[in-house]
């Protein structure tokens, strides 16, 4: 096997491997090994591999899996849920895995469900991912026809059914407890925590929720072992490879599977090819619209959760957006807050009313109608809507880029207010 556990089965520009092709290439071997290992050994390996949640939160996967009550202790139905509701602006990694390696996804689900002793799995896919849904449904049928799903899989006594659910939309569905509400047929409103979803999730039963990329790492951990997976990484605190992406006016926007901990500057220069002629980078968001700006003097940061956290931001999805000198940072933040205001589920007042307020203040500043006091008002909101101020993490996520923008782009904010216009306005309306 190669050193690319996530993309080894992917041939760009080709249809994904069907089940026969996938097995010929080594697929579903890890599933057999996993069944022979048993749940506890799998969970131990995933923990030792230092796999961290790739949906953006970075929670240690092994610890999450340990949190599912043992089947003997709680003889009730339990669920594995794949969070394939990729909607964080700037993120496009899970779509590749779902569309181009559906059997890797399913093998990861089977192993994860076996480890949690979950007999029902849902793959919760955003509704716009039509091609991904189509390919997943086909792959599930192929796996079932081969006896890898259904009753008593390969004589193990373990049974599993996978449902592919196409969502009705809304960013908030990616919040795990809101996702449960959606699957149960309610408005996708989050629930209070604790209890943790591993003890009380979907229909109040133990539910293990993992991101697409996280589960796609698991087959290779089982097959090659935790030490091998750790060795792939350039980081001491986290194992594996990761799908890093770059968008913005770089020469080669795209996705690459690279060792965890690859420096941001290396991704931008060697893989994305640096900036297009005539453009310079001004800042980057390392992992989606809810991560704080990183400034060029910190572009040497290693792209892992701990290092990016120490640099004042968060790895998030690891899909990087580059802001160049011809696009306006205030306009960018306005776009981001417009997104969060629209996607607030409306359940709690600070988020429902606070985010539109923030959005309107930014719109005014961008339109040249801002007042100096607006900057204090925005800063105040980053506190009010910060961690602990709202029911779930949507608004705190919305405040992270704003807080960093007020810090790093203070001069640009003040310029909008004193000159009563956006100095970069015209460029935003043109084609890139």
């Amino acid at each position: 096997m190669t050193d690319r556990p996530l993309t080894r089965y992917i041939q760009p520009g080709h249809e994904p491997l069907d089940i026969d092709g996938y097995e010929r290439a080594g697929g579903y071997r890890a599933m057999r090994q996993a069944i022979a290992m048993g749940p506890e050994a799998i969970i131990e390996a995933v923990g030792r591999a230092k796999l961290r949640g790739r949906g953006g939160a970075g929670f240690p996967t092994g610890r999450k899996w340990e949190g599912v009550p043992k089947s003997g202790a709680a003889p009730q139905r339990r669920y594995l849920i794949v969070n394939a509701d990729e909607m964080e602006p700037g993120s496009f990694k899970d779509r590749l895995l779902l569309e181009a390696a559906p059997h890797l996804m399913i093998e990861g689900v089977i192993i994860g469900a076996f480890a949690a002793q979950a007999e029902i799995a849902y793959i919760f896919v955003r509704g716009e991912y039509v091609l991904a849904i189509r390919r997943l449904v086909r792959a599930v049928a192929e796996a079932a026809a081969h006896g890898y799903l259904g009753n008593d899989i390969l004589g193990s006594g373990f049974s599993l059914t996978i449902h592919v659910h196409g969502s009705g939309g809304r960013y908030i569905c990616g919040e795990a407890s809101a996702l449960f509400s959606a699957l149960e047929g309610h408005r996708a409103v989050p629930r209070s925590r604790p209890p943790r979803s591993t003890t009380s999730g979907l229909w109040g039963r133990p539910s293990l929720v993992n991101n697409v990329e996280t589960l796609c790492c698991v087959p290779s951990i089982v097959e090659r072992g935790a030490d091998w997976f750790l060795g792939l990484s350039r980081s001491a605190t986290e194992g594996g490879t990761k799908l890093y992406g770059v968008s913005g006016r770089v020469k080669r926007p795209g996705l690459w599977e690279l060792p965890v901990g690859t420096p941001l500057i290396e991704i931008l220069e060697e893989h994305a090819g640096g900036m297009r002629e005539g453009y310079e980078w001004r800042a980057a968001m390392p992992g989606g619209a809810s991560t704080a700006f990183i400034m060029p003097e910190n572009f040497d940061v290693a792209m892992d959760f701990d290092s990016v956290g120490k640099a004042g931001s968060w790895l998030g999805t690891g899909n990087i957006m580059v802001l160049d000198q011809k696009r306006c940072p205030v306009g960018m933040l306005h776009n981001i807050e417009q997104f969060f205001a629209r996607e607030s589920c409306g359940w709690c007042t600070p988020c429902r009313d606070g985010l539109p307020w923030v959005e309107r203040i930014l719109a005014a500043i961008e339109a040249g109608e801002g007042e100096p006091a607006d900057l204090d008002l925005l800063a105040h909101h980053t506190e009010l809507l910060g961690p602990g101020g709202t029911f779930c993490d949507l608004a705190p996520g919305a405040m992270a880029p704003l807080r960093s923008g007020l810090k790093f782009f203070r001069a640009e904010f003040e310029q909008h207010i004193s000159e009563r216009c956006c100095p970069w306005h015209d460029t935003a309306e043109g084609w890139a």
Partner: protein, 168 residues
């Protein structure tokens, strides 16, 4: 939207569609869990979910019409009003904003005479904003019906519209 189709949305669901919906509810742990799938089945046939159909679905799902409407109106991919023959979902999130998403919106306004949220007078297109489509390395991007289109520029956008029946 032709009057014929509008009338159909005021009539009861046909037996085959009702049967398909009941089959989905049987696969789910509770009937209401089939709500989104059921709404989508109706929408696939009629383009949107009418009041009449919503009430009928609610009964099949063991919900009140108001409860089901609360669900239906929460999710942006469920349409409670008629839409055009083709639905354009134009990404207005930040990666597309950086790469010319605004230019795409302005060109659509110029060509079709509609803003996001509106339908053309001939009923051919409905334009809706959508959150990041996960196509950021090929921004700006949009979907028309089930198909994703990236790397939009002025010529490509016109060509895609033309392919869907737009004439200058």
């Amino acid at each position: 939207m032709s009057t014929v189709e509008q009338n159909l949305t005021d009539l009861p669901l046909d037996a085959a569609l009702r049967e398909a919906i009941v089959a989905v509810t049987r696969e789910c742990e509770t009937p209401r869990a089939a709500g989104i799938d059921a709404l989508k089945l109706v929408q696939k046939r009629f383009g949107f979910v009418s009041d009449r159909h919503l009430a009928e679905l609610a009964e099949l799902l063991g919900m009140t019409p108001a409860e089901l409407d609360g669900v239906a109106t929460f999710y942006n991919l469920i349409f409670r009003r008629p839409v055009g023959r083709h639905v354009i979902l134009l990404c207005d999130s930040v990666a597309c904003w950086m790469m010319g998403g605004t230019a795409a919106r302005l060109q659509l306004r110029e060509r079709l005479g509609i803003e996001p949220g509106q339908t053309t007078a001939d009923g051919l297109f409905t334009l809706l904003p959508i959150v990041c489509l996960g196509c950021c390395d090929h921004a700006p991007a949009m979907m028309i019906d089930d198909d994703l289109h990236g790397d939009l520029d002025a010529a490509r956008l016109d060509a895609i519209l033309g392919h869907h029946g737009w004439r200058r």
